[in-house]
Point group: C2
Chain length 301, copies 2
């Protein structure tokens, strides 16, 4: 039994490897929810949907959101009628988002909705939203003041100086502490440490539960650049170095092992002063073989 | 300049005829809104959309709602995920409904939304919702008590005894009285008198405005059966005969001319005792020629 903490891009790639070599029914994924929002009357839980679509082999790997081969009929009609959407939602993907909003209107918790949806998609893994509460994430920037996370990503294309990342105070979903406690190992994929993983480990009881467990993390950094997305800007805003060393500092209270890329081999000893074990290997996941190889290392160490 | 009062099925057929022979920019249609409702996070103004799609030559004439040739990708995905919708919404049609809800969330009035949508659809006629207020219609039935109008139509397939039709008290949209006042003629299409037309004429100021105008109505009844839908059940519930004579009684305070079907020729004299003019002709609108012929009669008398 393993638990994986996931955001929206890096970790799903690792999940693609893990699910090839580990029984899917023994995997629990706890997914970040602070980026969730209502848009176009749907409820967008982008990271959750990416994890679901990854397990269901539906994920559009070009964008790491949405369903591959999806159509965009509703979107194109909305544009034709004068409504531009910030996110590019396909039709099937829109159904996933609309169903969440429909069921939330009916009083369902996000946990129960995701349980329904992942079952309908034929997924045997357990997928848990980190929280059933409405979350929010705000980026304090030098240029534009406080802005919404999605505006930061899409409207401003991350082109601003991040002063602070603020997320609201939410309660953990009841099942996540139990999932961690029942796991032989907890895996942090190479997701954004600040916007994807830190919201989960900041939840009441999570850090304490992690301290009792074997925890392994894959660094999302190589040298001082992130594999994808604005992780660097956020690390700096929290006072951490934008590097695997910064990740080690951020996770040091509970982390047993950090996996860093071959290109960072020189930093191994320095990082070992922060956390017990450091593994050096290829962390780029371009092919399914890359993903399976990294999955093996994470599962075996 | 003419104004047409419309519901969702009979009148749009007449509009198809009128728009072939009368300048579209000189037509205003006031549309019933009491059947509007939120469904699947969209705002369903079925009668308005039917009128819009009719003008835009997009209407699905099999059902008299929705867009011909539309796809059902979102709907099919929702069903696959376990969410059945009462109404069968196509993808493009869903965009129309979602945009209404999106813009209402942003504070737009229904009048302004319809103005945007009909312009985007290239429609030169003016289409006015009867009201910008949230409306509702409840059917009191013998078998099931008070039920929603859409449940009556779809879930119960009209198979119950109607005791009463109740609609909430709403304000007229600001433009409708003006539209009637500026018209040379007001036309009531063969829509359900109780659920489609009566809600409009019950609005404050409408009946008074109609009394000053030349008003012509096409009866939706032949003998004692309605052309389509549950009009008969509703007429009885309000104490009117389910016939053209009943329609004459319902509209007598302002109606100048009633158009009845050839099959009802025998009732002409009886109806003339209620309202000044009665025209007997074919009121079945199967072909575009039928529609244009009836439109000519309505426009010329």
């Amino acid at each position: 039994m393993i638990t994986i903490l996931s955001g929206g891009t890096g970790t799903p790639k690792l999940i693609q490897g893990i699910k090839e070599i580990y029984p899917e029914e023994d995997i629990t994924v706890i997914v970040n929810t602070v980026e969730n929002l209502y848009m176009s009357r749907g409820y967008i839980a982008a990271d959750i949907d990416t994890v679901m679509y990854t397990f269901a082999d539906l994920i559009d790997e070009e964008f790491w959101y949405g369903i591959k081969g999806d159509t965009f009929i509703v979107r194109e009609q909305l544009i034709e009628m004068g409504t531009e959407e910030l996110l590019r939602l396909g039709d099937k993907d829109r159904a996933t988002k609309l169903q969440k909003a429909i069921l939330m209107d009916e009083g369902w918790t996000l946990t129960d909705i995701v349980e329904l949806q992942k079952n309908k998609l034929g997924i045997n893994a357990t997928i848990l939203p980190m929280s059933d509460d409405e979350s929010e994430i705000t980026i304090a920037t030098k240029e534009y003041g406080d802005i919404e996370f999605h505006d930061f990503l899409i409207k401003y294309q991350c082109n601003c100086e991040v002063l602070e990342v603020k997320y609201g105070d939410v309660s953990p979903s009841p099942k996540i502490i139990e999932a961690i406690e029942n796991s032989d190992k907890v895996i942090f994929g190479p997701s954004n440490p600040i916007t994807s993983i830190r919201p989960i480990i900041s939840l009441k009881g999570v850090e304490e539960a992690l301290k009792e467990k074997e925890v392994i993390a894959v660094s999302p950094f190589v040298g001082k650049s992130a594999f994808s997305g604005p992780a660097g800007q956020f690390m700096n805003a929290f006072g951490y170095e934008t590097s695997s060393k910064g990740v080690a500092e951020l996770y040091k209270s509970f982390l047993n092992t950090l996996v860093i890329d071959n290109q960072d081999a020189d930093f191994k000893e320095e990082i070992k002063e922060i956390i017990p074990n450091v593994i050096v290997c290829n962390t780029f996941m371009k092919t399914i073989e890359d993903k399976i190889n990294l999955a093996k290392i994470v599962l075996d160490n």
